[in-house]
């Protein structure tokens, strides 16, 4: 045996490394090329302004019509336009793809005049037929949840209240409703009703969700799942062309880590700031805190449909009594107010005569005994791993409630899932109790009440009403309010509904927050919208 120097090993390892890398570049030559193109594109514009936005979880889909979660909508809001949009700071409606509109006297026929100077990112012109295509697409599957929520579509009636959508001209669309719908225009401004390019939808088929094409201020570039989504400025945007060249949405799941990235300067802006980091950010002279106007609610849904204790009103009331909301709200570190009703107080229709359940362990025990549960019971509380705007510390909050309910002999098992699975699990009614929250989409109370508490939205598998609360009285009031165009009358309906809901206690309302964002000092004109997401075209970065 010849003597060999073992230190050639290092050389050998290096060669192996090279071989492995060569192989990997061979086998995935397609995407390597794609990567090259991107990289070249970015390299060319080396002086370009890139805004890196850090967030807690990845988009589920980039198809505007599908998602219900804020993180997905954040991105689709950049890529798509809706017929009308909200004002930058409130939920008043302003023109977007539609320049003008009118409604018939019976409040059933809506006619929209469309812009004639809009092209999709794939180069196709935007016309009335495209609007018709999108509306028809939304009726083809229950996957388009928002269409169902907002327009009352069900499996039997996939169209819901929208009877007909016709292109009456190249740039005119007429929408006929089967019943009056008060929030209709508000609703159309919601990002889920962003208009997609029909050609792209048909071409990409099942892969459309990762190859989105819209008309919005930003063009989709690249999606590296669980890592980042890159969009670049749409030079031909009909509205205000973006001031930054690129926006990168980076996923950094841990709030603390994300904040450190911001401190280190590797991201420019972030949402989901840990409440306990607010002070640190405020005292940092390079950083600023930007507060989003409050239009959300965090709640614990009690699955009223589940056999056993949760179906008992007394038990649900007892749980409300057993939770010390004042303690709980301190977990929000000043960014949250205790919630009493399903809608935030800033919204019209809020019933401020309702008094919250007072923290009263003895009363709670009494009610439980009355319901036959003096010895308590075992129960699950579903919660999610990733913090949300309305609930920055879900796991800790869950533990706090676990401990509080122990006082009344209710033994809580916490089931933690990641966000996607949590949604799936709660939509599937696996839970006894579940944390969830809602950020208003359109500034209409209906958007809270109907989506979250109407019996129409209790379909297992796609439920928005995860308390599975089925009250006919409430349903009637919601329906009346939907069809009534007069806001005072609608307010009355909602006031009454809130009383019934308070008594039935399908929820433990937890908090309304003013979610903080943190960013570098150099960022200006970032105007957070109460609905939870906003187009980035106005943002300027130094």
């Amino acid at each position: 045996m010849k003597k060999r120097n073992p230190f050639t090993l290092f050389g050998f390892l290096l060669i192996m490394l090279l071989v492995v890398s060569a192989c990997s570049s061979n086998t995935s030559s397609d995407d390597a090329d794609a990567g090259n193109d991107n990289a070249e594109a970015t390299e060319d514009n080396d002086s370009d302004k890139t805004l890196v936005f850090g967030r807690g979880s990845d988009s589920i889909t980039l198809d505007a019509a599908i998602p219900t979660d804020g993180e997905s909508i954040y991105v689709t809001n950049q890529i798509y336009d809706t017929l009308v949009r909200y004002e930058t700071e409130n939920t008043e409606v302003k023109p977007a793809l539609a320049t003008d509109w009118e409604v018939s006297d019976d409040n059933l026929e809506w006619t929209f005049q469309l812009r004639n100077d809009v092209t999709f990112h794939d180069g196709n012109d935007f016309t009335a037929e495209d609007v018709v295509f999108n509306f028809e697409r939304w009726t083809t599957s229950s996957e388009f949840f928002y269409y169902g929520y907002m327009f009352g579509a069900t499996e039997d009636n996939m169209k819901g209240i929208i009877d007909k959508v016709e292109a009456t001209d190249d740039y005119e669309v007429k929408i006929t409703l089967s019943e009056p719908n008060a929030p209709f225009l508000q609703t159309l401004a919601m990002p889920p009703f962003g208009i997609a390019s029909p050609e792209a939808v048909e071409e990409s088929g099942d892969d459309y969700f990762k190859n989105p094409v819209g008309t919005g201020p930003f063009v989709f570039e690249e999606w590296i799942p669980d890592d980042s989504i890159t969009v670049s400025k749409n030079e031909d945007y009909f509205g205000e062309v973006a001031k930054v060249d690129q926006v990168v949405f980076r996923v950094i799941p841990d709030n603390g880590a994300r904040f450190m990235e911001l401190q280190a300067g590797s991201i420019d802006l972030m949402n989901g700031l840990n409440p306990q980091d607010i002070q640190t950010a405020e005292s940092d002279e390079d950083l600023q805190i930007i507060r989003r106007p409050s239009m959300n609610v965090a709640y614990m849904a009690l699955n009223t449909d589940k056999e056993g204790p949760m179906s008992e009103k007394l038990v649900r009331q007892a749980i409300n009594l057993a939770i010390d909301k004042e303690q709980l709200i301190t977990l929000y570190e000043g960014i949250g107010k205790a919630a009493v009703n399903p809608i935030p107080p800033s919204l019209w229709g809020y019933n401020d005569e309702i008094k919250d359940y007072d923290y009263d362990v003895d009363e709670a025990k009494k009610l439980l005994a009355e319901a036959g549960y003096a010895d308590g019971f075992d129960i699950t509380l579903y919660t999610f791993a990733n913090p949300r705007d309305y609930m920055p510390q879900p796991k800790v909050t869950a533990q706090a409630i676990q401990e509080m309910l122990k006082e009344v002999n209710i033994n809580v098992e916490i089931v933690e899932n990641d966000w996607d699975s949590h949604l799936t699990a709660t939509e599937n009614a696996e839970h006894d109790m579940a944390f969830l929250g809602w950020t208003g989409d359109n500034g209409d109370p209906d958007n809270f009440f109907y989506v979250l508490l109407d019996k129409d939205n209790t379909k297992v598998g796609s439920a928005g009403n995860v308390a599975f609360y089925k009250s006919d009285a409430v349903h009637d009031l919601f329906k009346d309010a939907q069809m009534e165009m007069d806001q005072d009358k609608r307010t009355e309906y909602y006031m009454e509904a809130q009383e019934i809901i308070h008594d039935d206690a399908p929820w433990v309302p937890i908090a309304h927050t003013t979610p903080p964002l943190a960013g570098k000092k150099g960022i200006t004109d970032y105007l957070p919208h109460p609905t939870g997401s906003e187009p980035f075209n106005l943002v300027e970065i130094e």
Binding site: P6, S24, S25, I224, I252, A257, A385, D418, N428, E430
Partner: protein, 334 residues
């Protein structure tokens, strides 16, 4: 030698088959109906049926396994339940990140481990020996997720000298060729990016490399001590050869073999440790990929990723064994 390699490769076949059977069975180990546990308890029968048909859960096991194996051999690892992504594509995309991290960690571990081990052996019972061996003992007992967090606290929070997460600062504009960022930055002579990538690698690499570093240091020391007691080293000493020459030319060369085995074993274990490290440092590799899949009950991803990592692990062990035979003058392979 060739014969030996062929024999080892042949011996690999039953192990790989076993590995594939085990990963295949994972999905069937799920208590109850796997389709139901993926979709939740109130999924409709139609949805379940669709998924079952999708995954072929209605066929006999043997047919399912055959299809599973056939798909794998064609490089088809199925698609994610949640995102419908092609898993093979995803893994190919994320694997370079993990391999880069583990190789970096291993190089750190090998260099520091061997140097510390050699010095400790040469200066046995010195303060250096004591300190480094105590350090090594501590190293094998450290929870790396804790170490990682503490490093973040010190280097990112307190002193803000190292980036706390990720592989690269977004917008650095590195041109990716191989997806091994360090290599890419060298190939494109992008030194800015090289520095950035290197700084990103530093903390996760060191955290991940701690345990192998400790083990390599201990192994090197004890193996060096043994070799240095041998007659030929004493002879060399008696001949008046310079000390460092004896250490590096003679002793280390012969002490290297047992160290090599440890290196091979640890390399594989790093792939497992990568799950924790990648999670802490938000490293976009397969470790974090499989972890996220576990959280979202995306079993096809879990299945496929584990299979791929196991295959890599097995291959690394094979390479180690072959290198061992190659370097060991005492072993013959005919």
């Amino acid at each position: 030698m060739l014969k030996y390699i062929i024999r080892r490769l042949l011996m690999l076949v039953p192990v790989l088959i076993g590995v594939s059977i085990l990963t295949f069975s994972l999905i069937h180990l799920i208590p109850g109906d796997p389709a139901r546990s993926m979709l939740g308890e109130k999924a409709t029968e139609a949805q379940l049926e669709l998924l079952r048909a999708d995954l072929g859960l209605n066929d006999p096991y043997i047919v399912q396994y055959g299809r599973f194996l056939g798909d794998i051999l064609q490089g088809d690892l199925g698609q994610s339940i949640q995102s419908k992504e092609n898993i093979a594509y995803e893994i190919m995309h994320k694997l370079p990140a993990t391999i880069e991290l583990t190789i970096f960690a291993m190089i750190v571990a090998i260099i520091i481990g061997i140097v510390a081990g050699v010095i400790a052996a040469v200066k046995q019972y010195s303060w250096f020996d004591n300190i480094s061996m105590t350090g090594a003992l501590f190293g094998v007992s450290l929870p790396i997720f804790w170490l990682g967090l503490m490093m973040i606290w010190i280097f990112s929070v307190k002193f803000n000298v190292l980036p706390p997460s990720g592989r690269i600062t977004a917008g650095t504009g590195l041109q990716t060729i191989t997806n091994f960022y360090l290599l890419d930055s060298i190939l494109t002579l992008d030194w800015q990016a090289f520095k950035d990538v290197f700084l990103h690698l530093l903390m996760p690499g060191v955290a991940l490399g701690t345990i192998p570093m400790a083990i390599i240091a201990r192994m090197t020391r004890s193996s060096m001590l043994e070799v240095m007691r041998q007659d030929y080293i004493r002879t060399a000493d008696a001949k008046g050869l310079k000390k460092h020459l004896i250490v590096f030319q003679h002793a280390l060369k012969n002490a290297f073999l047992p160290v090599l085995t440890v290196i091979g074993l640890q390399f594989g274990l790093l792939l497992g440790g990568a799950v924790l490290t990648e999670t802490i440092f938000s490293w976009p590799g397969v470790g974090r990929y499989v972890y996220l899949a576990v959280l979202s009950r995306d079993y096809p991803i879990v299945q496929s990723t584990i299979l791929i990592i196991a295959i890599i692990f097995v291959l690394i062990n094979l390479v180690t064994d072959i290198l061992y035979k190659y370097f060991d003058p005492r072993i013959r392979y005919d």
